[in-house]
């Protein structure tokens, strides 16, 4: 029994990785193979991607300190004037390499520095990528190497009981810019959710704790779409997003969240405080 448990546990990472790319390749689970060509084709087909041209900047920590909470920031520098269509974030070697995809709406804004920041889980030494799609359909990529080797279990919660308590609580904040003339404001969404990755064994039942994570976050400003975010369990426990949006009349943010169980959570914010 214990032996079987050992083996089971040791193969989890490999199995899930293989499963996630299995449809496209027969690569062995622990191959050092570069999975990016596969991911790229899956997401963008044969569309050209311009790399490191300064349209998009990816900021990651020099050294990953806690593989379960790795802060990453994507910046679109102010010299980029185009409207943005979508942003995709990948971590090649994660069990689910697709971290998040944002589809931007009319309230995403332009005319200043735009950014998106979140915290991700990093399963292995891996490239992280941000691919930005501009309004003209052109694709631009920034890549960073993450030196973190957490193993699947690095994704474990520090206090699973506390993390499950109060699930769904959604806090939204609005941060007006320092200069009132700035057309770009920023906001934050915090969602209390364990973001179970489905790879964690419940040792009492010897079964996996089912995957359950936030899969969709929609942010509107004064009723207009800022972005719709599709996410995976590569986002850390208690998903946290900082983003920018176009200044509006009231600058009220409404956020709706859906998790993989279909449960919905909501939050909102007015400029003078949290919800």
């Amino acid at each position: 029994m214990t032996q079987a448990f050992n083996k089971l546990s040791r193969t989890i990472c490999g199995v899930v990785l293989a499963a996630s790319i299995g449809a496209l390749t027969t690569a062995p689970a622990h191959a050092e193979k570069d999975v990016w060509p596969i991911l790229r084709e899956q997401a963008f087909g044969d569309r050209p991607i311009t790399e490191e041209d300064g349209t998009v900047v990816l900021e990651t920590p020099q050294k990953v300190e806690d593989a379960a909470i790795v802060p990453i920031t994507v910046r679109i520098p102010p010299h980029v004037k185009d409207k943005v269509k979508s942003l995709s974030i990948f971590i090649d070697k994660n069990p689910d390499p697709k971290v998040a995809t944002l589809t931007f709406g009319p309230a995403a804004g332009s005319g200043g520095e735009r950014s998106f920041a979140t915290r991700v889980r990093v399963d292995n030494f891996s490239h992280a990528r941000a691919v930005l799609e501009l309004e003209d359909g052109s694709l631009h990529m920034a890549t960073k190497f993450l030196s973190a080797a957490g193993g699947c279990a690095a994704m474990q919660a520090k206090d699973p009981d506390a993390d499950t308590a109060g699930m769904g609580k959604t806090i939204v904040r609005t941060f007006p810019p320092a200069l009132s003339s700035n057309p770009i404001w920023s906001g934050q969404v915090m969602i209390k959710h364990p973001n179970h990755n489905g790879m964690q064994l419940d040792i009492n039942t010897a079964k996996f704790i089912p995957a359950r994570y936030v899969k969709e976050v929609t942010v509107e400003r004064d009723g207009e779409l800022v972005f719709k975010l599709d996410s995976t369990f590569s986002i850390s426990t208690n998903p946290n997003f900082r983003f920018t949006f176009a200044k509006g009349d009231n600058n009220e943010l409404d956020v709706s969240v859906v998790d993989t169980d279909g449960e919905k959570f909501n939050g909102s914010s007015k400029p003078q405080g949290g919800s």
């Binding site: 546990s9 909470i69 080797a149 699973p160 209390k192 064994l201 040792i203 208690n238």
Partner: protein, 335 residues
Amino acid sequence: MSDVPHKHPAWPETSRSCGWGVHALSRRNVVLAGLAIASAPLLRYLPAHAAVEDVTEVAPGVFVHQGRYEVQSEANGGDIANASFVVGSEAVAVIDTSGSAKLGAELRNTIRAVTDKPIKYVINTHMHPDHVFGNAAFKQDNPEFVGHYKLARALGTRKESYLVANEQMIGAEAFAGSEIILPTLGIKEPTKLDLGDRELLLEPQPTAHTDNDLIVTDLKTNTLFLGDLLFSVHVPTIDGSIKGWLGVLDEMGQRKAARVVPGHGPKTMKLPEALEPEQRYLSAIADDVRRQIAEGKTLQQATKSAGFSEKDAWKLFDQYHVRNVTAAYAELEWE
């Protein structure tokens, strides 16, 4: 032997190492052994990173090995945490087993040099690899493996990464034979274990350093084994809850004890002053992080400044501090 109050260490290292008419090795004795080896090289084997054989009797029947203030490496073989054992008239209890099966075996040899009483309990103060990977060496004794009732879950879910990471850090040879052994006895309420004419009190704690911290008290000598609820010299590491930890430290400061044994630090320390540096460190992080959250600062910004006033007060600050701030921020932003 009476328990005379001393400045710590409570039991001077120059005292006779042991009252049991046997051969536990104090640091001084190890030095002597080293000299003996120099003149008679075949006398006995001491591994290069010796060694968990170096234990001190800090109170009658209470033995502590002090780990190094280092991160696990090939050079130290995983010998970075304190490991202890307590000898009763009928049985022995081990409290933390160091970071590999090899070190566990050394600890077991040391126990066997002190007493031939059965090793009935192997207690882990919490889940971390440097405290549990020596457990494997005690399987032959068929003891109860004892821990906080949440220890089993914590180890079960981290097993894979602990095995891989620790083998990488200390090397396959030094790590050989190490395995995760789940507790056979989970402690949910304060519980006493009888070693024969002495009892150990086991008290599970709310989430603090981890979510499975256990305080062990040898009631006979009023020695508290705090595991990693207490760090000294080695910077504390937060893998549970900074708020919970500060709360546990407040409670601990009210306690009276003849001595406490930290998870990382000298073999023994005194309450309440032993707690002060750690309280100061955790409070500095909590205060700075709370202020920065209130100012709308991001996690990334906080990791560059919060708690840096403590930089020179600790060893291994650069290795663990940013991680601590990250954990504190992720917790405190939900207050």
